[in-house]
C-alpha cells in the first residue's frame, strides 16, 4: 500500500466522472419521492407517485409490452444472427465474406431514424398493420447485426481441428453443430442475446416510426408524456427500473464470483488428488 499521496488523481477523476454520470439519475430518483407535482422544489416525502404508477394499468401494460418485445426480439435475433454468423464463416471466398460482413456493419452504423423511416415505408407498402408485429419485426431486424458481430469472433476463435475431431469421432453435421460448435460459442451467443435485449429495451427512434395507434413501448410512451410536461409518475417508474437493472448487474456479479470460487475449489481438490 502506497500512502505517499493523500489524493490519487486518477481516483479523483474516476469519482468525478461517475458523479457526472449518475447525478441526473439520482436527481430523478429523489424527485420521485416528492410530495409536490413538479421538480422545482421538494415539498415533502410521499409515495403517491408510486401509487399512481401502480394504479396506471396503461403504463403497466406498456412496461410488459416493452419487456415482451425485448425478450422475443432478442431471442429470435439471436437464433437468426447465430446461424447467420455460422453461414458467413462457412463462406469459402474471403471477398464474399467481407462483403456480407460490411453489409451487416452498415446496418449497425446507419442512423436509427433512417432505419425507422424505411421500415415505416416498407410496412405501409406491404400493408402490414402497425402494432406489436411491426415493432417486433423491426427490433429483430436491427438486433441481428449486433448478434452477428458478437458471435462471429467466437466462431473464428474456435479451432478447426476441433470440428474435424468431432467428425472423426463419428458425429454427423448436426451432432457436430449441437454438441461441439454451439457449446464452444455459447459465451458469444449469450453476449449477443443480452446486447440485443438492451438495444430493444432502449430503442426509441425505430420504434417511434412503427408503433402505430394503440401499441406503445416505454420509451415512446415516456416521450409522448414528457411533451405534455413531466409527470413525476415517470420518475417513479425510472426509479424502479433503475433498481431492477442494479439488481440484475449485482446478481450477475455474484453469480460470476460463485462460479469462480467453485472453480478454484475444484482446482484445489484435484491438486490434492495429485499430491496423494
Amino acid at each position: 500500500m502506497k500512502r505517499d499521496h493523500p489524493i490519487r488523481w486518477s481516483n479523483l477523476y474516476l469519482l468525478l466522472v461517475f458523479i457526472v454520470l449518475y447525478l441526473p439519475i439520482i436527481y430523478l430518483i429523489i424527485y420521485s419521492f416528492n410530495a409536490g407535482d413538479t421538480m422545482d422544489r421538494i415539498t415533502g416525502f410521499s409515495w403517491r407517485h408510486y401509487l399512481t404508477l401502480f394504479a396506471d394499468t396503461r403504463m403497466i401494460s406498456i412496461v410488459l409490452n416493452t419487456v415482451i418485445i425485448a425478450v422475443l426480439s432478442a431471442l429470435l435475433a439471436t437464433i437468426i444472427g447465430t446461424f447467420g454468423a455460422l453461414g458467413i464463416d462457412q463462406l469459402k471466398k474471403r471477398s464474399l465474406q467481407n462483403g456480407i460482413l460490411s453489409l451487416n456493419n452498415v446496418l449497425m452504423v446507419s442512423p436509427d431514424v433512417i432505419i425507422g423511416a424505411s421500415f415505416l415505408i416498407f410496412f405501409t407498402f406491404l400493408g402490414v398493420k402497425l402494432g406489436f408485429g411491426s415493432v417486433l419485426l423491426s427490433h429483430i431486424a436491427f438486433s441481428v447485426p449486433i448478434v452477428v458481430l458478437m458471435v462471429l469472433p467466437k466462431i473464428k476463435d474456435m479451432s478447426q481441428t476441433m470440428i474435424d475431431a468431432a467428425y472423426d469421432l463419428g458425429a454427423t453435421k448436426w451432432q457436430t453443430l449441437t454438441r461441439v460448435i454451439l457449446p464452444a460459442i455459447t459465451p458469444g451467443i449469450f453476449a449477443g442475446y443480452f446486447m440485443a435485449f438492451t438495444y430493444s429495451l432502449d430503442d426509441f427512434a425505430v420504434t417511434f416510426f412503427v408503433t402505430g395507434n394503440g401499441f406503445s413501448t416505454l420509451s415512446v410512451e415516456i416521450y409522448s408524456r414528457a411533451r405534455q410536461g413531466i409527470d413525476l409518475e415517470v420518475n417513479a417508474l425510472s426509479t424502479l427500473m433503475f433498481l431492477v437493472s442494479l439488481l440484475l448487474v449485482g446478481g450477475y456479479y455474484l453469480l460470476n464470483r460463485y462460479n469462480e470460487k467453485k472453480k478454484i475449489h475444484r482446482a484445489k481438490a484435484s491438486q490434492e488428488v495429485d499430491d496423494a
Binding site: S159, T161, M162, D164, A165, A166, Y167, D168, L169, G170, A171, T172, Q175, R179, V180, P183, A184, T186, R266, A267, S270, V273
Partner: protein, 360 residues
C-alpha cells in the same frame, strides 16, 4: 496377419496448379506401427487426412480392408485421429471427451463408463475423469486425446505429429509409451512426423517422403543403413556423402582411392554417391587408417564428441567419436567395407530393392 488394412493406389492430389501428392502407392498391414516421415510440406499430413476422410484424392483409389472408400465421409470410417493440437472439446471434462465417440455411436451407458475407464487406464490417467481440460498439462491433454481416439476401438489410429508440442523429456517418454500402447492394443498406428529420431525409435515401417513422393519405405534399420538417395541419407541421421565412381562390383573409388565395399549391380565407372555414417568412423593415428584428415572443430555433446575434419581433396568429414582429439591435428580415419554404402543417382525404389535382392 489379416493382410492390408489400407491401400493407396496411384493416389494424386492437386490444389489448383500445385500437385501435393504424385502417384502415391503403398500398403499398410494390420497391427503394425507405420511412420510417414518427411520435411514440412512434403504431403505426409495430406496422406493422413485422406485416410481419415477429410480430403479426397484428385486421382486414384483408397482401399480400406479391400473396399474402395474414396467417397466414405470421415464420420463413417473406422479410423480415428490424434490431432497435433489435441483438439479436445473445452466444454467437456476428461471423461466426457473420451466418451464423445461412444455416445455418438449410442453405446449403452454402463458400457461407455467401462470403456472410458479402460481407455484412461491405458494412457495412465485413471482417476482424471472429472478434471476439466483447462486443468491439464500438455502431456496430459495429449494422453486424453489418445484415450479419446482409442476408446472407439478404431482399426487404424492416425497420429498427426502428436508429440511436437511436448518438451524433450516428455516426448521421449511418450514415444516409448505410444510404442508399447500400440503393441498392447494391436491396432495399426500411422504416425506422421518430421523428426527422424522419433521415426527410427518407434516404427515397424517408415515411409520417407519428400515433395509429394514416397522416396523409400522399409524398416528403420533398412532405411538407416541403406538409404536410397542423397535426400534420405541426409534426412535420416547424420552422414558423410562423398561423390565417387563404381569401379567394379564390390569396389568403389572415392577421395582418390579405391575401397572394398559390399554393394554391387551397377555399371562400371558409374558415378555414385558414397555414404559413411559419422559413428562408423574410428579415429586412428595418421597414416594408419584409410583416409587422413585434419580436424577442424570439436564439439562435446555428452555421449560423444562431434568432430568435423577435411581431407586433402577438401571433402568435409563428420565424425562422432567417444575419444577426444585436438583441433588442427592430422588423424587417420578407419572404416570397414560394411560401413560404406553406395547410392546411385536417380534410382527409384523398385530398382533399388531389386538390385539389393540380387546380391544380398
Amino acid at each position: 496377419m489379416a493382410g492390408n488394412v489400407i491401400e493407396f493406389r496411384h493416389i494424386s492430389k492437386s490444389y489448383d496448379e500445385t500437385q501435393v501428392l504424385k502417384q502415391i502407392d503403398f500398403e499398410i498391414e494390420a497391427g503394425k506401427f507405420y511412420t510417414l516421415l518427411g520435411p514440412s510440406g512434403c504431403g505426409k499430413t495430406t496422406i493422413l487426412r485422406m485416410i481419415a476422410g477429410f480430403l479426397q484424392p484428385t486421382a486414384g483409389d483408397i482401399l480400406f480392408e479391400g473396399q474402395r472408400v474414396n467417397d466414405l465421409p470421415a464420420n463413417r470410417r473406422q479410423v480415428n485421429t490424434v490431432f497435433q493440437d489435441y483438439a479436445l472439446f473445452p466444454h467437456l471434462n476428461v471423461a466426457q471427451n473420451v466418451a464423445f465417440g461412444l455416445e455418438i455411436k449410442k453405446v449403452a451407458k454402463g458400457q461407455i463408463a467401462q470403456k472410458v475407464e479402460e481407455a484412461l487406464r491405458l494412457v495412465q490417467l485413471s482417476g482424471y475423469g472429472n478434471r476439466e481440460i483447462s486443468e491439464l498439462s500438455g502431456g496430459q491433454k495429449q494422453r486424453v486425446a489418445i484415450a479419446r481416439a482409442i476408446a472407439n476401438e478404431p482399426k487404424v489410429l492416425l497420429l498427426d505429429e502428436p508429440l511436437s508440442a511436448l518438451d524433450h523429456k516428455l516426448r521421449k517418454e511418450m514415444q516409448s509409451e505410444l510404442r508399447s500402447l500400440q503393441r498392447r492394443l494391436g491396432i495399426t498406428f500411422i504416425f506422421v512426423t518430421h523428426d527422424q529420431e522419433e521415426a527410427l525409435a518407434m516404427s515397424d515401417q517408415i515411409f520417407v517422403m519428400n515433395a509429394g513422393k514416397i522416396l523409400q519405405s522399409g524398416t528403420p534399420v533398412d532405411i538407416y543403413d541403406e538409404p536410397i538417395n542423397h535426400f534420405v541419407a541426409d534426412f535420416i541421421g547424420e552422414s558423410n556423402i562423398i561423390p565417387g565412381k563404381m569401379k567394379a562390383d564390390y569396389v568403389v573409388s572415392f577421395d582418390g582411392h579405391e575401397f572394398d565395399c559390399v554393394d554391387a549391380g551397377m555399371k562400371q565407372n558409374e558415378p555414385v554417391e558414397v555414404v559413411i555414417r559419422p559413428e562408423d568412423l574410428d579415429i586412428t593415428a595418421a597414416n594408419t587408417g584409410q583416409v587422413n584428415v585434419t580436424v577442424d572443430t570439436q564439439l562435446f555433446r555428452g555421449v560423444d564428441y562431434q568432430i568435423t575434419a577435411h581431407d586433402v581433396n577438401d571433402n568435409e568429414w563428420k565424425i562422432n567419436s567417444i575419444h577426444k582429439t585436438t583441433v588442427g591435428q592430422l588423424v587417420g580415419l578407419a572404416f570397414d567395407p560394411e560401413d560404406i554404402h553406395v547410392m546411385r543417382y536417380g534410382e527409384d525404389e523398385a530398382t533399388f530393392d531389386a538390385r539389393l535382392e540380387r546380391y544380398e
